[in-house]
Amino acid sequence: MSGVVQVAGELIATRRAGAYHHLTIVSPGVAELARPGQFVALAVGGATSANLLRRCFSIHRAKPSGTYGGTVDVVVAAHGAGTTWLAGLRPHDPVDVVGPLGRPFPLPADAVPCVLVGGGYGSAPLFWLAEALQGRGCQVEMVLGAASDDRLFGVVEARRTADGVVVTTDDGSAGRRGWVSDVLGDVIDRTGAGVVYGCGPMAMLRSVTEIAGAHGAVAQVAVEESMACGVGVCMTCVLPVTGNDGVTRMVRSCVEGPVFRGDRVRWDAFADGVCRVPADTLGAPSAGGH
């Protein structure tokens, strides 16, 4: 586990970005340590909050130095009590920040072409990742998909950053009508990509993994599992992942992840909104369950 800090942060900017809220939080010490793919865990609701669980957000940007000190940016979709509270924060409101957490996206040793795939606001960490990859001489193309135009995040930033961008929406309100999986294979073939990075809903990450494999690329995916703590103590954010030894374990996405090699995730365990424990998992329940 790498370095992490807990700081009393301060919101300094908040703005709408389509269906989302883009927050900039002064959080000294976090930005200095952060790498693309890592996340922060934010407390919500203030000191007497009835919502005790941390809300975890992939870091969109980390700026180690600025007028106010180090800042991190996150993108929030307000759909529950905690995210709605965060979306309602005004500049100078306090936010307790723990981060950076989790393992970052691994960067290739060689300058191979890469494709970055984001579903909805799952694209948030990809722009920062794109710059890191370009810094290593990698050609970077992006594929951004969402249900509709307002649920895309960062299309303008993508066009500014990446060497090529393809946009898809389910309803055709922006880019090509369809899913990212409809176009991904062609993008991998055209660019000769060696690595595909994905961030978004689990179903999308599964198809990104399958398409990458079928087109000769390695998938690195940042999973979305609900977390209570973000720091590795609650054991709620687990998923079945096969290790180097070939053994499947229920591992914590907050400390062993959130980034995993896509072909190591046991996608066969996910169906109908639940993740079951595969029978060959270490310590799996015998008949009757745990």
Partner: protein, 319 residues
């Protein structure tokens, strides 16, 4: 300057604040936020004989001032725990209160025996016998729902541990008469009791109109259950004071977030307090409660923490 030390049977701790089992993993994670040796004791995640995957997901549902969990006692098994986690806790100077469980009384005993034979056993200040985890497939295996089962488990564990190792039986409030289960555990050789484990609960996902947890039911924890913990501690302490139960130290757990919350449990009868779900909200909480509780004791003008234990029984207004 308040003397915050506390004596729990033969276990003497520099302060009465602990983690709660299953809310702090086995120490590495929280040690990034504060030295775990600064707690009175570090209570480890319940360990069983063999590695255990736990349940599928979703395992968690947030509730008003609390949460449900349905982890299913995921863990590495006693051998890996002793070799890695316990050895590490010893290396950083932490006092480990090791939580153990089994699906049978014999498994509890086996875990206790393998723990006692571990080279890292020196880090162990006590054993917490988790006879009350609600997240087991067979509710009939919640030993603490039945005085006879509780007694059998505790007796077997007592037999396998060195005489000097204090045993605390962790009880569930989901029983008609907690004092009778407490009596059985103490009769079987428990040196003290930890109260309370989570309460069995359930949440329906109102979009999908189905149980939110993959395991359907889960354990309710957090500030929402603190009054239940205070009540359980009160009832058992009252039974001890009235001579209906042998006197034994109690460790209070349930909904503690602040030093003031901890003081409530202490005044009801707890000689030590565990901080559980609040750790998910703030990983520094257990350490902060150490200072906050000391400030609370000082605020009331006491020089010794021990003088506040159970004090509410003496101050109850008589009708």
């Amino acid at each position: 300057m308040v003397d915050m030390s506390t004596a729990l049977a033969s276990m003497v701790l520099p302060n009465p604040v602990m983690t709660a089992s299953g809310c702090a993993a086995n120490g590495h994670e929280l040690h990034r936020f504060f030295p775990v040796s600064e707690l009175g004791a570090f209570v480890t995640k319940t360990v069983m004989a063999a590695p255990r995957s736990g349940r599928g997901t979703p395992r968690m549902a947030e509730t008003a001032s609390g949460m449900l969990n349905s982890i299913g006692l995921q863990g590495p098994g006693i051998d890996a725990f002793a070799e890695e986690d316990l050895a590490w806790l010893g290396s950083v100077g932490a006092r480990a209160l090791v939580s153990i469980a089994g699906t049978t009384a014999e498994e509890f005993a086996d875990v206790a025996e393998r723990l006692a034979s571990s080279p890292a056993y020196g880090a162990v200040v006590g054993v917490e016998v988790n006879i009350s985890c609600p997240n087991v497939a067979n509710r009939g295996l919640v030993f603490a729902c039945d005085p006879v089962s509780s007694e059998r488990v505790v007796r077997l564990v007592r037999d396998r541990l060195p005489e000097g190792t204090p045993i605390f039986a962790k009880l569930t409030p989901d029983v008609t008469d907690i004092a009778s289960v407490a009596a059985a555990a103490l009769r079987a050789g428990a040196d003290g009791l930890t109260m309370i484990n989570t309460l069995l609960g359930m949440v329906i996902d109102t979009d999908l109109l189905r149980p939110q947890l993959a395991g359907v039911t889960g354990g309710l924890s957090g500030p929402a259950i603190r009054p239940v913990a205070v009540r359980a501690l009160w009832q058992v302490t009252a039974a001890m004071r009235e001579g209906r139960l042998p006197t034994a130290p109690l460790i209070g757990v349930g909904g503690v977030r602040t030093g003031r919350d901890a003081l409530e449990l202490v005044a009801a009868g707890a000689s030590a307090v565990q901080v559980g779900t609040a750790t998910f909200h703030d990983p520094s909480r257990p350490r902060r409660v150490v200072d906050e509780l000391e400030a609370e004791v000082a605020r009331h003008g006491f020089g010794r923490f021990a003088d506040v234990v159970g004090i509410a029984h003496d101050r109850t207004a008589r009708p």
